[in-house]
């Protein structure tokens, strides 16, 4: 893992919806694998103090003048707003590459990539690696509406099959990815599934994959205090090896990619948490 002050090569908008930063970071680009993320400090001196994690969307190892990483994001609050204000030659403090990457299967060939909204980000980098490893890549993107689908043009380019679902039917099939997933698995003869998006979607995708007896790798999100393993804020409930107890694994360094079958999906917080002894910490 590297920390460096990196220069912005370019900022651009994607379909008026998402923002793309291309960052000059040769060493990080060199080391990075699909599914990993970088942790960016959008600004100093602001009321927010922590870094912001972003999946590696694309890597260009033969950048015009140096290797670059791309991240794609939408504006949620102060951090992403600050990032969207960056322009070429501005500099930011970046840590990365961080976390467990997606595993590239040795024997299995047909790979199905399932992405929800902006969650599809890491799957673009993954698709590239899979195809250069000679795999077949099929794509299933879902979103609330057409404009929230992440870069469908590229997706069609690398997807043998590229299916899109929107909840309002404004593009592709009306509905959710899970409505079409079973058929698509059959149709594409998928042998492994990679998924990234909202928790609910990842849980549903995992169930379906398990019914079809094919492995599923999910890239999880959780609030991160440090993004490199020292604060314990980002944990996921996962089953220990012999599936007896649920233990807490760090999303940042033990993930963000997990075997979907290892996540203890039912252990997630209740609707109304009970006030528990405050500090400790």
């Amino acid at each position: 893992m590297i920390q460096q002050v990196a220069q912005i090569l370019s900022y651009k908008k994607l379909r008026d919806e998402y923002h793309i930063l291309t960052i000059v970071a040769p060493e990080i680009a060199e080391l990075s694998k699909p599914g990993q993320f970088i942790n960016i400090r959008p600004a100093v001196d602001r009321q927010f103090i922590l870094r912001r994690p972003f999946s590696i969307y694309k890597v260009n190892r033969r950048g015009e003048w140096a290797a670059t990483i791309e991240v794609v994001f939408d504006i949620r609050g102060g951090g992403t707003a600050a990032l969207a204000g960056l322009r070429a030659h501005d500099t930011i403090d970046v840590m990365g590459p961080i976390g467990r990457p997606f595993a590239i299967p040795k024997t299995r060939n047909n790979c199905l990539l399932v992405g929800g909204g902006i969650g599809a980000a890491p799957l673009f980098y993954l698709a590239e690696e899979l195809r250069s490893a000679g795999k077949r890549v099929d794509v299933l993107w879902g979103a609330a509406s057409a404009n929230k689908l992440l870069n469908p043009i590229d997706a069609k380019r690398f997807g043998a099959q590229a299916v899109f679902t929107t909840e309002d039917g404004s593009e592709g099939i009306e509905g959710r990815v899970t409505d079409v997933l079973p058929d698509l698995i059959a149709k594409c003869g998928s042998r492994v599934i990679y998924a990234c998006g909202p928790n609910g979607m990842l849980q549903a995708v995992t169930k379906i994959a398990q019914k079809h007896r094919i492995p599923v790798q999910v890239a999880m999100e959780e609030l991160m205090g440090c993004g490199y393993g020292i604060c314990m804020t980002c944990v996921q409930p996962v089953w220990d090896r012999n599936r007896e107890h649920v233990v807490h694994a760090r999303t940042c360094v033990d993930g963000p990619v997990f075997n979907g079958a290892r996540i203890a999906w039912d252990a997630f917080p209740p609707e109304r948490p009970a006030p528990t002894a405050p500090v400790g910490n």
Binding site: Q47, M232, T233, V247, T276, V279, G280
Partner: protein, 307 residues
């Protein structure tokens, strides 16, 4: 003139006045990818309990203005794992270790402390008493002088190691608690733990932490933490204090030294910058050279106030 950064902490000489804040450095492995741990005064490890603790559900963290709230719930692998795995590694790194111990009963503190007695490279115990006391309606030990005295004197009897009870700022009179801890055999004090706080998502109506209440850390609490250090130092001028709370750089650290801290601990700043501890050490050295300060002890508590 060369600046001597070494300090005396309750009879132990440390290479530098900068240590890590418990729970903000894990056991140092991750951070050692970025910095040379040997440059630190000591590594204060995440608080450990007798058995492994799973910690609380997520969300465990939320940001607030110039700070963060956390409710981790002391997730840790237990003292055995520390002795088997983390400590040997830290010993290989050649950095002194301050072991932070926690529990829900006095007996649990004793067991953990006994397990650590004589452990190689462990120069002191920090006693995290900001824990709910199961034997007293879940009141924090740190919130009551008697409970504080109970834990500290029990651990005192159990081990020889220097003891640094870590006090909570969430009290009416921190000097009274400090006195209770010192009368019970503490060699020094760690000040302070997080400030209790809360945040609510107005759109969902949900608390932003699964634990509902959490501990506030970061720059926001610096003035509060500094006030605690100042008050306790004026009351007990000869007691070594590890000061912490919102220290982001050497300037903040020096505020604590002038206010009465012997050493300073860096917590939340590590999350933002893995080099925070080292940069702080370098900054303190620059300051000492510029101001002609030969050793930190000479400026400790020297804020210009009457009496």
């Amino acid at each position: 003139m060369a600046a001597d950064l070494s300090i005396d902490l309750a009879g132990v000489r440390l290479r530098s006045p900068v240590v890590t804040a418990s729970g903000c450095f894990a056991s140092g492995r991750e951070v050692s990818e970025f910095i040379d741990l040997k440059k630190l005064g000591a590594v204060v490890v995440k608080s450990m309990t007798l058995e492994p603790w799973p910690g609380k559900r997520t969300p465990r963290m939320t940001e607030t203005p110039s700070g963060m709230l956390n409710a981790i719930g002391l997730q840790n692998h237990g003292v055995e794992h520390f002795l088997q795995v983390d400590l040997p590694w830290l010993n290989r790194m050649g950095v002194p270790v301050i072991a932070s111990i926690a529990g829900n009963t006095v007996q649990e503190y004793i067991y953990v402390a006994e397990a650590l007695q004589g452990a190689p490279g462990v120069i002191a115990l920090e006693i995290n008493i900001s824990c709910p006391n199961l034997e007293d309606r879940n009141n924090m030990f740190a919130h009551d002088p008697k409970a504080t005295a109970m834990v500290v004197s029990a651990v005192r009897r159990a081990v020889e190691l220097p003891l640094f009870p870590k006090l909570s700022p969430n009290v009416t009179n921190i000097v009274e608690i400090a006195g209770a801890a010192l009368d019970s055999g503490a060699q020094g004090l760690s000040l302070v733990n997080t400030v209790m706080g809360m945040a609510i998502d107005i759109h969902t109506g949900m608390p932003k932490l699964a634990g509902v209440l959490g501990g506030l850390s970061g720059p926001a609490i610096r003035p509060i933490a500094l006030r605690c250090v100042f008050d306790v130092h004026r009351a007990f001028p000869h007691v070594p204090i590890i000061g912490m709370g919102g220290i982001m750089n050497h300037e903040d650290a020096l505020e604590f030294v002038l206010g009465g801290a012997t050493a300073v601990a860096i917590g939340t700043a590590n999350f933002i910058d893995p080099h925070a501890t080292i940069k702080t050490i370098e900054g303190i050295e620059r300051y000492m050279v510029e101001k002609g300060v030969s050793n930190l002890a000479s400026i400790r508590g020297r804020v210009k106030v009457e009496g």
